[in-house]
Every structure is written in structure tokens, then in C-alpha cells.
Amino acid sequence: MGKTLDRQKDWSRRRTLQALGATGGTLLAGAPALAQTVAAPAVRKKVKLTYWNWADNPVHQKISLDSVDMFNKSQNLIEVEVDATMAVMESRKKLVVAHAAGAAPDVIMTVQYWVQDYFDNGILHPIEDYFKKWDAAPDFFPNVIEQTRSKKDQPIMFVPQTSIPYFLFYRADWLKEAGVQVPDTFDDFVKVAKAITKAPDRYGIAMRGQTYSAIQVILPIWASAGVKFADEKGTVDFDSPAAIDVTEKWVGMFTKDKSAQPSAVNDGYREQYALMEKSKCGLWFYGPHASPALITALGDAIQGAPNPRVGPNRYMLANPEGPMMTTGTKEKEAAWEFIKFITSGEALLLYTAGRAVPPVRKSASLNPFFQNNRFIKMGLDNVSTWWMPPYEFNNWANFQDKIPPFWQEVLREKITVKDFHAQGAKFLRGQA
């Protein structure tokens, strides 16, 4: 334990980034290179493309720059210019504004939850025709490719590089000390959170209050309780008793059990990560990209488990991410060549292993890096439970954009859980 604590003291954000960078670099140096897409046979003239990606941190930014550099060196006809200076949420705003001004990039990285909005508003150019002709198409996880359609009858919208599963990080040593098992059901989870709390020194769950991500981690638990959020007919059940019951228990961990940190209302990712790393909290819903730093800081004490369930089904929120082609591009063939490049071979490894997130190609997922990281492997072993809410529903963006302040209000007990759900349902119904 002493050793672990000493290591925790020495850990810093800089080292976290170094660890991620080193992981990616080592992997690329040691791993056998996967087949890399080569020059563009369909492009017969010199072409310039613009490509935008967000940067979670300097390592992520370097990945974008390195992948573009690799592409530019791989052939003579297509030159890609990259802008990877924006934060993830900024990339959506920047694209929408640029599209309105007629200056959208040719290719941009996207997350699944924006895709339907982009498609409905003429920003996204689907890639189904290109994808079907690609000999690497069968290598992609079929369920993830289906997700990229957004709606069943729609074409494939973009090529996924990864889908980041959100699961439960837990302190195995604290659970053992408290004599409790890894929670199977949500009720178990609430009990475990309480059992391992020793306030004010440590708390059960690292709870989040800030931004939509605070709610995002509860989505699979609501889904497990049978909540559909919205269906094709437009029926909204976010204000159903099942949904309210889950939220009552979740909020109760903060307001009644006191098994969440007192600062939860304003805490975001940065604070949650620090709480886990500094052994202040023992349970956290997050993705595998936090795992390299947590493993280095906490060793075997930190373990992962699938999300707890309410009903018989268990879900793992997993949002596909990958490059999409915009309608603004005049060089579709060239854009497709670039998209193929960064979703294949070494470039794909940069984007996945370099960020410690799972690839969604069968061949790449067998790479030792992914198989040896217990968190990524658990995610890959549970691909069948990967799930996402109805992002395609036409009021989902309205809900997602407007609900966060109400979540803080419910944590502060300024509104009731019922009021929170009523407000969320209004957003989903387009009534607010």
C-alpha cells in the first residue's frame, strides 16, 4: 500500500500524457505493421484536402499531425492540411459555423451523437457507396457499422475508428476490505458505494455534475431499466416511473447516502480523474482511455467491470467515432482515400492504441496492446452489449444541449428528480 501511495504522489498530468505517448510509440515500434492503404488509384491530379480533428491533449493532437504526415508521405497526389487545435465540443460548433459560411473542411472527425444532425442538415456526405466497394469492409465490427447508419434505412455515414465503451472502474482493494462483491445490479452498486465510503477521507463514487457527460454515464442504466427515451413514433418515456426510480437512487448517493464526493455538483472529468488517482473515490464510470494512467498510479488495485444492470439486460455505452466526409468537399475520391488511410494500418493504431481506446476492426483488435490491457479487453469481450441511445431522434440534440444545468439543480435539490425528468421529457418532445 505504501508503495502505491508513493507512486500516486509522483504521478502528474504530464506523466499521464507521457505514458500515453510512450504507449503509442512503443506499440508502433514493436507491433507488426498492419496492411496500410496505399496511394489513391482514383485520384489522378494534385489535390489539397483539409482535415479537422479535436485534441483531447497534446498526445492526441500529435496523433492527428503524425497520421497526416504519414499520409502525405505515402503518395504524391493528395496533400492534406490538418487543424487539430479544437476541443471535442468545439469541433461540432466549428463545423456548423464553417458549413454555414461555405468553408467546411473536406474531412472531419465525428462522434456518433452528432451524425444524424449533420446528415439532416446537409453537412455530412454518406460513404456507403465507397465503403461497400472497399475490400476491408468485412473487417469492421458489423454491429458498429450498423450503428453508423444512425437509422436503419439510412446509408453508412462515416467510417468508425473506435467506439469507446464506458464501464465501471472500481477499487478492488477497497471492495475486499469492505467485504463486498463487484456490483452486478444497480441496487448492489448503490450499496457498494455506501459500503466503501469513509467520509471525509474517501467516497464511494466519483460523481459528475458538470456538462452532459454527467448524464451520459447514467444512460445505460436507464436503458437497462427499460427506458427507451424516445421511439420511432416519437413516444418519449424519459418521465416514466422506471427512469425516475433509477435517478432517485443515483441522486440519493449524493444527497442521502453521502457516498459521492461533496464537490460533485461542479465536478467534471478533470476533478473525477484526480479523485480516483489520489484515492479519494473508489467507483467511476469512464472509458478505457483513462486506464494507462490509472494502472500506473494504482496498479492492480484498479479494476474494471461491466456496468451494473437494473433489468435482465446490461448495456455499455459505446459511441462510435471516426472520420466523415462533408458535403462541402469537391474531392470526394481523395477524401475517401484519406479516410481509408486513417482507419487502417499504422494510422489506425495511432488513433486507437495511442489513445488507449479499442479499434473496431477485427484484425486490429487482436493486436497484443488491446488484448493485454485488461480494460480494453473487457470492453472488446462485451462488444455484444455495446449500446447507444436514440441519437437519431430529432430532439435528442435539444435534450443533450439543454439538460445539463437541470442536472446540477437536481443534485443541489433545487428541483425534484420528478421535475428533472419532466424537463428532460419536454426537451425530448421539443416542447422547450
Partner: protein, 296 residues
Amino acid sequence: MAFARKRRIDLLPYAMIAPIAALLLAISVYPALYAFWLAMTNASLLRLARAQFIGAGNLVRMIDDPVFLEGLWRTLRWDLAVVGSELAIALPIALLLNVAFRGRGIVRAAMMVPYITPPAVVALLFCYIVDGNFGVLNDLLVRAGIFKEYFSWLSDPAGSFWVIVSAMVWYGQPLMALILLAVRQTIPAELYEAARVDGASPWRMFWHITLPHLMPTIWFLLLLRMIWMSNHIDMIFIMTQGGPGFSNYTEAVYSFKLTTQFEIGYASAVAVALALFLVTASALYVRHLARSVLSS
């Protein structure tokens, strides 16, 4: 024989100001007019081409929007707290830095450090200082026995407000102090010498000589900072995103949030309403200022 010579218009001055006038039209007048136009539409950035004119529709929505209505008070509260605190700190600093003492040059230069620090960095520094779990402020308060346990400043409406105000005041007061110091140095020394000969106390000298000379500048600074603070977003947004809940949603933050939700029509309406409040208040203020200066 005297012919009335036709007066020739000298075009040169107009030619000289034409470039800057064109630039102002392009980057200031046109966007302002466009914002007015947007404020009367239901424009969304996602569907800009399909924007429809709705006249006073956004105005009606604002009157029925508690976030907007409460935002007026939040904006005023923010303005008064920041500008009032800045003045309360900057004025003594300016007077102190006018006194001769060893190392005054270094202190004067050091005083500007907060102002040259990027506001985003200042915001993050304050977030770390007041962090509810690891912050040094909580540590000091608990060690000193003032608090029994750590307090989550940014999760509390009043706590978060005063933390943001503190960060803003720390960042903004050097500019005010510097300007007041510069004005203080223009006050003729003879006035103080004559007052001393008459046996005036330092307080009477401040009250009857320093303050009257500084007042026009103070009024001007108050106006300028109030306008800046009404439009301020970054410190509030970085530290709390306007939260917890809506407790730090000033009108500027609200307008920005609406823009991030692509509701550019309503966001423009909120921004235009804020601008109209500011223009009206400024006009009344300047008129009052001009009258008081003229009468004095």
C-alpha cells in the same frame, strides 16, 4: 468685379478617412445590423438558410424566459461586485504606489503581473486554489480552524459567484490602479504643499484634493469596466460554465450558451437586448457626466 466663387469641396479628408470608415462598416456596423436582423428571426446555425422573420417573437420569448429575466439581475450583480471591488482595491494601491519608497519601481512592475496573465490561466489557477477536494484555500481554512471540513466553493451559488468575482478582481484591478496612479501623478504638488501649510490632515487632503481630481477618471473607469464586465464570458464559463444550475448565467453567458446550442436568432436577441440596456445606461451616464463636468 467680384464673382461669387463656388466653394470647392476638399475631398482629401474624406479620402483619408474612407479606408477606416469602410473597415468600420465591414467589421462593426454590418455585423451589428446583421445581429439586429438575426434577433428578429428564428435562425439556427444548423438551418441558417431556412431562417424565418418572426418580428418581435424573440422579444415575447424573452419576457417569458426566467433565465433571461433573472440574468438581468445576475449581470447587474456581477458588474457591481467586480467593478466596485476593483475600485476599492485599485484606489489604495494607486495612492500607495505614488508614495516614494525603496523598490517602488519593482512593485509597480509586479503589480501588473495579474493583468498580463491570460484570463483562462487565472480562471484555472483559482479553480485549483478553491478545489473542493484538494484546494489550498480549504486546507488553510481547516488548519486555521475556520472551517470544520472542506467546502465545495464552486458547487455553491454564492461561493462560486464570489470565487469568480475574486478571480476577475485579481485579474482586472491592476489596470484600474495603473490609470488612477497616472492621474494622481498629474495633480499639482503645490496644492498639497499649500494644504500642508494650512495644517490639513492627510485625510482632508485626500478628500478635498486627490478625490476631486480623480473623480472624472473614476466615473469613466466605472462606465468602461461595467460595459466590459457586462460582456464578459470567459472567466465565468471556464470556472463554472454558468453553473451551478443557472446561478452564474449573466446575459452574456446566456447568449453564448444559446449560440453553442446553435440558436443564433434567440442568442442575437439576448445580445441585442443587452446591448440596448448598455447603450441606454451609457448614454444617460455620459450625459450626466458631461453636465457635472460642465457645471464644475
